[in-house]
Homo-oligomer: 412 residues x 4
């Protein structure tokens, strides 16, 4: 198959692309990248960018690695130039001197990535390129600085203001829905029938963030159950044969699963925006909703417990263990050990209740002895909770959870 | 009017916003900006950003100027930090050291602008903020470095890959069409009836670029006439009482007007993409189209002529004057004096033909003695033309135009 | 221009249409109609229908009249066939006998109209055809039975279940908006700027019914003002320089103008559905709305007054005259003389209040001495009001209006 | 569950509906139908219609049958009234007399069905009601006249001009796609993965007709394969592991499956329009397409063969049997025995080629010994073919098929 894929959909474009690509024959991906950064890039930019992305897509691991090296070495910042241009700017601040500094201080690979992104579909290809990079980085930390540039650009491109929140339901395109099946990370979806149970009943909702440049690719999605009262068992919540309630009768919205979809966007966070936006939209639609809460796993509990010596802790009821773990188990930086806890507490939520026997699946028993937790999103408290968590590392929690945990406090 | 405008559309959001904004009372826009850059910004980001943008919108010129100063001075780069972090990175390249350098090398105002952009509608507000800045800059060049940061971010946000080309026609929303009336910069549109003449006949088209974050605001638009043969008079082209032809019968697409819409996006160029994309789309739809050409003003001709001494030039026919001017009148950097010429030649077009009596309007007579020019977009030549123009400053032109100009060459 | 207009958009269709239309040359519109009703109509139906509609559109008044005659005479019911098939059916009811009766009892022109409607755009052409018919009928009542067939089919095609209610606002396509300007029948819209005042302020709404087969043609539209309290002056309501209120602050929705758009749909009523649907949609969106009311002209008041002898009536205040007229002035069938009153009372509304000086325009002064009336749509009363109006001809009215009218009662 | 289902979505509507439905308590579905036909129907029409449709939906078979009886008997035509009104009209044709006749000649149940259709969603409910009727009719032919009324109205409502052709692909809503799985009648679709193989490859297309009042319900759909050359095996055509070709490279469009979706629309034909419209749309999109052909089953072949005595026929090769059967096997009315043949020949197609071993599935072997047939849609011949088929019962066929069949002609 030719390098000139489906992107050049018209005769006009193809004639033009043919010229550019015949010029490109025999030139390496590095050469083409330099062309794209140079004069030719201004007028043949999209065609060159397309050629480079196609070359990259067809490359093997070694060639990809070589391209990353090229970006890292050949398109690197020049310390001398930085220092000189910085001096000139500071001596005589002006448009000219500051622009020169700005250009020098940023590696050319950032401009290359921006120009690759001119192509329709380019964003998706670059997200996939970063996914390759992240995988290679594990074995090869020298590549890490390159990832800093990717992450910097992605944070700008995937800015909250550009994201679109869309409901995902049984009227959504199949090509979106199959991604929900593929990406659900918390409670697996086995089949289209299973998916339908998550989307179609009147008391179920799903929402995702989408970016205009990747319109069929959810970036992250959250599944919501509308309930009366706060649930204490995910198996009951997701039971096949339950009686759905009318959405208007619900008083509680339960965020029971949040899944990131794009491994190439790791570290670019949208989750906190998503929960707040969904809570806002639901409360607009359903005036009866009073409580916004999660039903979350406690993925680190069992592993942490194994390392603890205190017999009181080992012998305690699982909900007390969970309460104690969520409130007291800390990393070196004094933040909670549990990653899900860090996420929700970092958003300003509070530990509201813990439940034994809440996830009796094999995985649930293994990771937390079946315990789960509700994090509460209380609008009146979110900001305060968040700031205390960030500045003082304080974990917000309900009186009940606090009491449960206290029964296991050393010296009790 | 309250600080909490229409953006907080739900009860949920309003309750939350009320809390944040009551905390914000008594704090200056600079304080709020620092909050937005700090820990509080992570959880209350959109509300803080909204507050800042509302404060800014309500501010007078002095307060706006003060805010620009704040960004320029307080959110400035720190040379010591840059040099130290650069040294650490070069001594021991790693994710940590490079990220520290990247953070230091970029002024915090860029991050502030990115966070202000988290709000829905934020992009439009920031474009308007830059418009203010550009106006103040004329009297106050000290502000120029701040504009470099705006331009840098906008180039990334308004990347070609994020823009959407949309036809603009009599089915378009009135709120878009009124902007076409307002922004048409070349041949003014006097009324809705006048607009209809530009959009509704079968041989007229209009296309604009839109950005997903500003869906009702065209960024730039081009008006196209479908003709048989290359036109030599804009008055004939736009005559009220002409007989439209069927689009299928046209062999030529004439780009007779290109207008930028957002003064706050000055210097962020989309025009070259626009023409090529429109040419591609039209050639897809109408297989009879063979020629893509402009009918363009020559805005600098009269002014330039006034400064010339040679009597031969002064007494020559206007089309010869125009040909000579377009080919020979250069700036110090050896690029053409004429700004429209620089734009189209820079896109890879060629000077194809000049016409006397082509624009007999008052403005046309005044700026160019009624002469106009066709720039030809020939796909087979665009890349070569562009590169020669950029590297050798060569102006591509037809034999006819070249001959016309030669009659006025000194020594002839 | 060819008979084969824009409807045959593809090469495939055109090749086919060329065959059918070359066969059609030399055949009259009556012959083509017979073809369409015959075997050929099954496979070449849309092409034949298109040919007939194009012939009709290009015909002069005499030819149109001749085509109506053809439908009326040649495609008429056959009494003998009706009576015989009816007898057969009654003697032996079966699918076969009933179908034979059904076919005989309905004139073939109905089937012709249904087949003409197979063409995309056919519905609009048939609505326009009926418009011609209605105009000719005024001078020529013999055509009336043909109109009964049109009306019968249109009532079925424009069934409420097929209509779509759409908001009309400043985001609507210009081609829809220009129709609002053209069709506004109550308070004329002079310009696009005037239109904007009716659509864009936060306290103004407009809604129209659309049919899927005529997607750019509103069938009927209603203009709504959101107010605090019930208005008593249309000039104040529509003043250029008023301060709009926030939609959320309104307690009253005022239907101040209802306009039919398609004269070819005369007598096919959607108005009552429109008001109720708009009231429902608005109450869903704006929970503060408590009152749904019109501000209506009293078009027949002055004319009626001129014919009255009683000096008490002639000398009374105009609001008392209006109240008396609306409650007591009746036609022979005992329904109100006033057509607007018949419409709203027939919908189940009540005469709520009358106002002197409410329409001080030239037309307002002329038709009703400046008086206007609010009809109240009170959901709890609509059904009862309607039934009493239809069965007992009772006019529902408020105590105040009743009292005002009573002051003029003979013998008072 | 309440009678007032999801259709009354707003408080406004619900308050109103409550009033009407509390009036309705204790009244039978027949009474409510009479109300709907009477004065009350004008103002409370949609609520009454909704109540009746809900009552019907909740009814058991006996109650449904009783409702059909009510429509058949109580809402029947009155012969005396018909004859009298017919006489009055013929004596003095006028709007009044013709309208009186029109009203009398049509049973009131038609008006009832039209009023039931005023409700949003009503069309779908009535299609389902007719489905019930068709099933009951099999055992109870007395109901047949009622079906004539349904069919008459549906033919008008589902007029070609109101239908929308939509592509069905992997971007279509899941709720539409699951219906494709459910309704595919020719070559069953087993799973979502199987469906994807029919929709997603570049050389596969699917199109359906939709009605605006049933936007998520396909009425009929056709599956198309884009190929090089005319295929002779459905197993090869639908093979899992085939290499798709680019759509642009195809010269042939193969309609390999057409399925009706709504049993309640039996006898309302859209199939011929669908094939022609799809052929037109495809030829517009893909200029390389030259041949439009089916790959069709021959469902009646084996059954017919069993009844034949001639040993030459019994012993012949299956393709010759198929050719002979398609050309010579006729019903009493001289039309082909084969129902699929009648459909395509009736559309103006020709028998183009027959293939042995073309459907080796169990069903294919059973119904036709594995033979299949290509019907050719040649635009230049469609009209002539159709007319000869309808008037002279002539079967259009290629020379090859004709020759094959001739080898089996008696006396050969």
């Amino acid at each position: 198959m030719s390098y000139l894929g489906g992107l050049f959909s018209t005769v006009f474009e193809r004639r033009f692309a043919r010229k550019v690509s015949s010029d490109a024959e025999g030139r390496s991906i590095d050469d083409l990248s330099r062309d794209l950064l140079g004069a030719r890039g201004e007028v043949s930019g999209t065609t060159l960018a397309q050629l480079i992305l196609d070359r990259y897509a067809g490359a093997d691991a070694d060639a990809k690695r070589a391209f990353f090296d090229f970006m890292l070495r050949d398109l690197e910042i020049d310390p001398v130039e930085i220092v000189e241009s910085l001096k000139s700017y500071k001596d005589a601040p002006s448009k000219r001197t500051y622009r020169a500094y700005a250009r020098a201080s940023e590696p050319q690979r950032q401009e290359l990535l921006r120009r690759l992104n001119q192509v329709r579909g380019g964003t998706e290809r670059l997200v996939s390129m970063r996914d390759d990079l992240l995988k290679m980085m594990r074995a090869d930390p020298q590549l890490e600085p390159l990832d800093v540039d990717f992450a910097h650009l992605f944070a700008s491109w995937f800015n909250r203001g550009f994201l679109e929140l869309r409901p995902i339901n049984w009227s959504s395109p199949a090509e979106v829905l199959e991604k929900i099946i593929a990406y659900e990370a918390v409670h697996a979806i086995d089949s289209w029938d299973d998916l339908r149970l998550r989307l179609q009943p009147a008391d179920r909702r799903c929402f995702g963030f989408f970016h205009p440049a990747m319109p069929d690719e959810p970036l992250i999605f959250v599944e919501v159950a509308l309930t009366r009262g706060i649930p204490n068992s995910v198996q009951k919540l997701l039971a096949d044969k339950r009686d759905p309630i009318e959405a208007e009768d619900a008083d509680t919205a339960v965020f029971y699963s949040i899944s990131n979809c794009q491994s190439g966007l790791a570290g670019i966070s949208f989750g906190n925006f998503l929960i707040k936006q969904v809570a806002a939209d639901l409360s607009q639609e359903l005036s009866g909703l009073e409580t916004f809460v999660t039903l979350s796993p406690i993925p680190g509990l069992s592993k942490w417990l194994q390392k603890q010596a205190a017999p009181a802790l080992q012998n305690a009821a699982v909900d007390a263990q969970a309460a104690y773990y969520l409130l007291e188990a800390k990393r070196d930086d004094n933040l909670p050990v549990d990653p899900v806890a860090r996420f929700h507490l970092g958003n300003g939520a509070a530990v509201h209740a813990v439940h034994a026997g809440a996830d009796t699946s094999e995985n649930g028993m293994k990771q937390s002895g079946g315990a789960m937790v509700n994090y509460l999103y209380d609008l009146a408290e979110i900001t305060t909770n968040h700031e205390k968590f960030v500045t003082e590392k304080t974990v917000a929690a309900s009186r009940e959870v606090r009491a449960l945990s206290a029964t296991l406090a050393p010296g009790t």
